[in-house]
Symmetry: C2
Subunit: 334 residues, 2 copies
Amino acid sequence: MAEVTLKDVARASGCSVATVSRVLAGTRPVGAETARTVREAAERLGYRPNHVARALRRRATGTVGLVLPQITNPFFPALVQELEHALHAAGRAVLLADCDDDPATEAARIAEFLDRQVDALLLIPVDERRSREAVADAARRVPVVLLDRGCGPGVADSVAVDNAAGMQLVLDHLAAAGRRRPWFVGAAGTTTTAAERRAAYEAGAAALDPEAPGRVELGDFSVAWGRAAVDRIWPSRPDAVVCANDLIAVGALQRLRQLGADVPGEVAVTGFDDVPLAGLADPALTTVRQPVTELAAEAARLLAERSADGGPSDGAGPSRAIRLAPQLLVRASG
Amino acid sequence: MAEVTLKDVARASGCSVATVSRVLAGTRPVGAETARTVREAAERLGYRPNHVARALRRRATGTVGLVLPQITNPFFPALVQELEHALHAAGRAVLLADCDDDPATEAARIAEFLDRQVDALLLIPVDERRSREAVADAARRVPVVLLDRGCGPGVADSVAVDNAAGMQLVLDHLAAAGRRRPWFVGAAGTTTTAAERRAAYEAGAAALDPEAPGRVELGDFSVAWGRAAVDRIWPSRPDAVVCANDLIAVGALQRLRQLGADVPGEVAVTGFDDVPLAGLADPALTTVRQPVTELAAEAARLLAERSADGGPSDGAGPSRAIRLAPQLLVRASG
DNA sequence: ATGCGATGGGAAATCGTTCTCCGATGTGTC
DNA sequence: GACACATCGGAGAACGATTTCCCATCGCAT
């Protein structure tokens, strides 16, 4: 019942630990007869390799650290699920850290994971600027892949949705629907998602109305802000409220209904991300779907490549920034 | 830049690895002067202890496996967040596994975590019966704490909300509001949450109407089922729809609105769990809040106790089942 | 017969800590 | 002054795997 070790299997099968290791790991050919004996003994004793000892010797834990801003952000659970599956399929276990949207905590958790000898890190940086130093440090030690949000150019490999393209999809759709007085409700933070979506709006909205790029309100990525923003912009009667993410859009939708506005007749509301909540809102939210599965798959692939290249960014080529195409989901809200 | 080890620090500070280990781990008193020198050298070289080697020697990884049915279930992210924080505060890292609501996958992930030498397991079992064997096996090897859902009596320590008390809160509230024709929309699965909530409804509903305990529809814990269930029960015009969780309730709410029902005037709708979605529904959902923070804290506490007692359930006393008091949140839906 | 390469197997070093012995040096007491 | 005793430090054995040497054996060609 205690721990069965290689030594036990060796004793039971009458050969050396070296041989047993070779048979079980298949690292070198071993005589057929011996192999059979060893495998039998291992089976009979219920031998299970000790990953800790293996990690110490191989200098690889088979473990990846996943550090994210806040698991309660409804966009993340689906991403975490896909990542967990993709990494598990690659034989790696996932250490999870939630850093409460705080860059200092984030830096601490990254450092802890490095101390725990993770083979690689998957990061969703809290902030583009304030996360950079910790991320860059980490990238010097192990392969790092940034997800969903960036962290300045060249710091590490990254995978994200093409936010600009997504926003353009929204604007094109609104234009085709004849909307001409959009407002943008975004986030003031310095995450790349906030910045990119806002920049794309400002760049693309002029096609609808020369003055549209100026009609921008910035708060944070929350339902509460969506509600509050509506109170500020509704007096100027927009015919579309373009939100930087679904949470904001849901808040906007709620407040507009309270104010008796007709959505989508009078005003369209759009979101971004396609969180589960979006399809449940009333009216269901027109939004931009992020390719979550592909995001996770690409991240896992990048990680595998970097790991194969033998460690940190120094060995392999320059860092790559992968952008995946978003998809517009037209629903009832606009 | 490579790895600084105890040996390096020993060399640099002119003493033995044993002494360095003692100074840094504080495991035995060491002369003040020596200690200073060692600490200085460690600092100067940027020494970081290798957790893998430590784990091998100490036979403890400082790691806890968290296995849950589906992270995308909206009740779990908040729980995961609290658990992660509580465990981190106790100096333990969290290995995460999502098992796609499949008992076989669950068993496999548990086994993998044991191979990885986790010190303990935190499990939200997929199913009361079909998870039992794997859970019981695991509990024989390391401390196990079951969360939110149970797995049969005596299998392992468990922490959950008092589902019966929660359901009774709902029924009392409905009774006080004069509702007399409730229907229950629950889940047919064999999770303890499904079973306990349903049993509590059947036990308590008779106080509202002798025939109420029979008015029960069972499906699964999903929005879609909530919608479908309304189509089946609306013809008999209940004045309250008691749902086994918030997802069902949100679906019910949606469908009732589509059918032109007046909520809460004509019919009340209640949920269970208080997921973020509940407060965002329209009308906002009356529901039972689970004490998520306390749940996580208790789980962490149990784990710490069991671990202190030195290993699996055999050493310490019988398994404990902790039930926390729920709280009724009366909102607009009933 | 000798040499040579291939093949299968074992002994032992190694990974970086922790921890158990042991020995050496005081310190206090009778 | 001697003996018990605490205190501090070092040497070295674990922990459980992997991996590098090295040796023995065998087949085969010279």
